[in-house]
Assembly symmetry: C2
Homo-oligomer: 209 residues x 2
């Protein structure tokens, strides 16, 4: 049976229900731990599901930051230093990744036991055990007029990939890399492959490649 | 072994390799068919993986449109009518969904065999067999200065959900709904659940709920 929920019902539902529902509506989401440090070198690690690529030439990523979050160390650190890392989560440490969203006095690396790693002099910490890691620099921020959400755009300066997941055509095999995805705020999954499909042409149905 | 790819190597790689790689970097992506029609009532259906929620109060979604796409019926139709639908893809029709991205003269509904459905007088077509469907209205567009990508923001006016996937707390069970996710441009997956985790608190590790 299909249930219809109107905008009036959405708005009159309690905030917990509404938040759960709205966060699930787009489907599975990209999940990344974002690593930063402040100018004194204190590290921070935070889990984000509102991350997306903005372009390939030059390579850029976008991250959305909610306006009314009380503690925004990640955004503050990026604005202060200009640098951040993005790190895929695997099933080996997805519980620790979720745990980074608790309120911590100390660095989330120490608190949760996720091991940091510094690479090639880059001024933000990576997650040592992540199979896909990006070194990124702040390009610009824009505030969305509709609700003061902040869209941060970064350039991708270097990529560190576990070689077993990098195919000859440049694509990543997220299945073999063990990348985790999230539904809503707290429901974690790995991928079970249906198929990789051929480039879509009108003369025949796409096939598995 | 970890492979490092520098920004110089990214930029000097061929465009096919670069496009594959950059499209995979954020991880699994939200996958939705967007249904629109023009003012003459000609329908269009297009597959998007750059869709995300922007806020829950009021509920809003964002979609990114690349600036240099030659044919942009979806964006043109939304600008013309103000309306669009978002529809989750399932394993039952993911090949047809991929096929919508071929160049078609006729409507992608007719061409691929995906059945449209009109609901409650809304002026855009839904995908009949999709378990999660949103009726959305255009709120605004912004052009990103960095590369002229267009960010379209829509309000969610009503939601149609297959009831078996709607939990009492408002969250969706994307596993039982059969929602599909995509890696890169062409690699399709369903979710295999790791666990749903308790709200993160600093005094103890999150547990499965």
């Amino acid at each position: 049976m299909t249930k219809r929920i109107s905008s009036e019902e959405i708005m009159s539902s309690d905030s917990f229900y509404r938040r759960n529902l709205i966060n699930c509506l787009s489907g599975y989401k990209s999940l990344n731990l974002i690593g930063t440090q402040d100018s004194a070198g204190i590290t921070n690690l935070a889990l984000f599901s509102q991350v997306f690529h903005i372009g390939a030439n030059p390579p850029m990523v976008g991250i959305l930051f909610r306006p009314n979050t009380v503690i925004r160390h990640t955004l503050d650190n990026i604005m202060e230093t200009g640098f951040f890392t993005m790190n895929h989560v695997t099933s080996e440490f997805y519980k620790e990744a979720h745990w980074t969203s608790a309120r911590w006095e100390e660095s989330e690396f120490e608190a949760t036991g996720i091991a940091p790693e510094f690479l090639d002099g880059f001024k933000a910490p990576f997650v040592r055990d992540s199979p896909v890691r990006l070194a990124c620099s702040l390009l610009e921020t824009q505030t969305l007029k509709v609700n003061q959400t902040i869209l941060l755009i970064g350039s991708i300066d270097s990529i560190y990939i576990d070689e077993r997941g990098l195919r000859a055509d440049g694509s990543l095999d997220l299945g073999s890399l063990g990348t985790v995805t999230v539904a809503g705020l707290d429901d974690y999954f790995v991928g079970k492959r249906l198929g990789r499909l051929s480039y879509a042409k009108s003369d025949k149905m796409p096939e598995e490649i």
